[in-house]
């Protein structure tokens, strides 16, 4: 049987112990079984989504080379959109994150080699793009930049949905992404305090499907700047 005096001593030791640990500055990290919400902006590079040459059947015996009527090259311009994510920490270093983005990238068509139209003609179209993805997020434990910044790696996959202007046509596809970033804690990051901070992230995204005019898988970089708060 433990006497009341011994209990009081034990509690006091525990409090002291915890205070010493915080004073030493443990690595900022996730709080296991807690949620972290992030929101901010993402940007993606321009993305070529196909080029096509309209050809005519040439007059000639055998198989003469086709006659080029025109060439059209399609590309999404660089774009910026909204980026929202919710992560659930499994451990102090590992979290599962569900995210979504929204953007309105401009689709530009450059027409060339039209002998009758002369110079390059440009045709533009606006699209609306949504993505939903799931990622694993792992904080690299052995890399430490000061007491507030820690790097992480991220990887996962998602669903892509793009609509042309007028919403007449919907194209869907899938994405796979891999990248990394850094998290900066303004406050918190320890087990007992609510975290607030910012994160910067770069990802390479491999896209299949969506609005495209060829059969290739497209790979392009994307960047995010997010604020986060632990809940």
């Amino acid at each position: 049987m433990i006497s009341p005096v011994r209990v009081r001593i034990a509690l006091l030791l525990s409090v002291v112990s915890a205070g010493v640990a915080e004073a030493q500055g443990p690595d900022p990290a996730f709080r296991p079984k807690h949620v972290v919400a992030s929101a901010g902006l993402f940007g993606s590079s321009g993305l070529a989504v196909g080029d096509v040459t309209a050809e005519l059947r040439r007059n000639g015996i055998g198989a003469p080379a086709p006659f080029t009527l025109l060439r059209a090259e399609s590309e999404f311009d660089r774009t910026i959109g909204a980026d929202v994510r919710v992560a659930v920490a499994l451990t102090r270093l590992l979290a599962v994150e569900v995210g979504g983005t929204y953007a309105k990238p401009n689709l530009a068509i450059a027409v060339s080699q039209d002998v009758e139209a002369g110079a390059v003609s440009s045709i533009a179209g606006t699209t609306t793009q949504y993505t939903v993805d799931v990622s694993g997020l792992y904080q690299v434990p052995r890399v430490k930049w000061g007491s507030r910044i820690r790097p992480y790696v991220i990887g996962g996959g998602g669903y892509l949905r793009q609509l042309y202007e007028g919403r007449l046509r919907v194209e869907t596809g899938h994405t796979i992404h891999l990248g990394g970033g850094i998290r900066y804690w303004i406050s918190g990051g320890q087990r007992t305090r609510r975290a607030v901070g910012a994160r910067v992230e770069a990802r390479m995204i491999r896209r299949s499907g969506g609005i495209e005019f060829d059969e290739r898988r497209h790979i392009y970089p994307a960047f995010s700047l997010l604020g986060f708060v632990g809940l």
């Binding site: 096509v52 309209a54 005519l56 139209a117």
Partner: protein, 328 residues
């Protein structure tokens, strides 16, 4: 029953004229409205029992049969034909029989072949159509073509397109030559100028031909599997008549055309595959426009692209696009 004959002497011309792109359909005025000229059922046809040097009547029959088969093989279209037998009657005889055959027409030194119709003017339905191949020219049915001879199957394919109700397409490029215009390249079997002797490329239908025949003879799935592109061509705020509007598929580069057919400059291109398109508008400016229109049209404007892409959804039509052109 009121009937009238429409003679089309514009058939596959030899060194005639015309560039450009797009399919047209024949139409007649019935009860104040324009209706398509077409067959209401399978096309029953005969072959004239007359051969020429290098091509027998049997070989003509076989070439015509292969050409019909090409049209009948177009997906989402319902073209049908029935060979009825051989006949001693030459084409052009009004005998209630649709007949293909060779005919001596030396005065038509630039016409390879022609199609004539007997129509029911109350319905636009074709009652009889005859196709002649001009013996003034040297013909061939060799599988790989023959140098110096016109490929019979290619010309039959074009003529059957007319016989079914299609007009000329303008998808093509030509150049002036001592004998008139020479075709450099074309994007449709229904282009009005034939390829050179020895060339057999026009035994295969092109997307513009297939779109036209699907539009004229739609299959059961036509409404669900195809789309249409429409719009207006204007110049200075007024519609342009006779402008050639070409839809270019951004995925595969196929080209399908149409014309503005009224004073408002309105065009409709039916039977196109669902997808994303550019619209290119050009004038019929370096050709004899008689191959396409019986009256004057506007050819004084620059080649112009629509300012936006056009989405052609399956089972519906694209949002109309207006293309504003400027005078040359």
């Amino acid at each position: 029953m009121t009937r009238r004959v429409i003679l089309l002497a514009c058939l596959l011309a030899w060194g005639a004229q015309t560039p450009l792109s797009a399919y047209l359909k024949f139409g007649v005025r019935v009860g104040g409205q324009t209706v398509d000229v077409k067959w209401s059922g399978p096309v029953p046809y005969f072959i004239t029992e007359r051969g020429i040097p290098n091509v027998s009547a049997t070989q003509l029959r076989d070439a015509v049969g292969r050409a019909f088969a090409s049209w009948q093989a177009v997906p989402d279209a319902t073209v049908r034909s029935q060979f009825q037998g051989m006949t001693i009657a030459p084409p052009g005889t009004q005998d209630q029989r649709t007949t293909f055959g060779f005919l001596d027409r030396p005065e038509l030194d630039r016409v390879l072949a022609a199609t004539s119709f007997l129509l029911d003017s109350r319905t636009g339905e074709i009652r009889e159509a005859d196709v002649f191949f001009n013996t003034r020219f040297d013909w061939s049915v060799a599988a790989a073509g023959e140098a110096g001879r016109i490929d019979l199957e290619s010309v039959a394919l074009h003529e059957i397109g007319h016989l079914l109700g299609l007009g000329h397409s303008a998808i093509g490029e030509t150049e002036l030559s001592p004998n008139g215009r020479r075709v450099i390249a074309s994007g449709a079997v229904m282009f009005p100028i034939s390829f050179s002797p020895g060339v057999i490329a026009d035994r295969l239908l092109q997307p513009d031909d297939r779109a036209g025949i699907r539009d004229l003879y739609p299959g059961r799935q036509f409404d669900q599997t195809t789309s249409s592109i429409s719009g207006f061509v204007t110049k200075g705020g007024r519609g342009v008549l006779g402008a050639h509007a070409v839809a270019i598929n951004l995925r595969d580069g196929t080209t399908i055309g149409g014309f503005t057919l009224n004073a408002e400059g309105e065009f409709v291109i039916g039977g196109v595959s669902p997808g994303t398109y550019l619209v290119r508008v050009e004038p019929l400016d370096d050709a004899d426009t008689d191959s396409f229109f019986s009256g004057p049209i506007d050819v004084d404007f620059q080649v112009t692209y629509g300012a936006r892409i056009v989405i052609a959804p399956a089972g519906g039509g694209a949002d109309p696009i207006t293309v504003q052109v400027r005078a040359k």
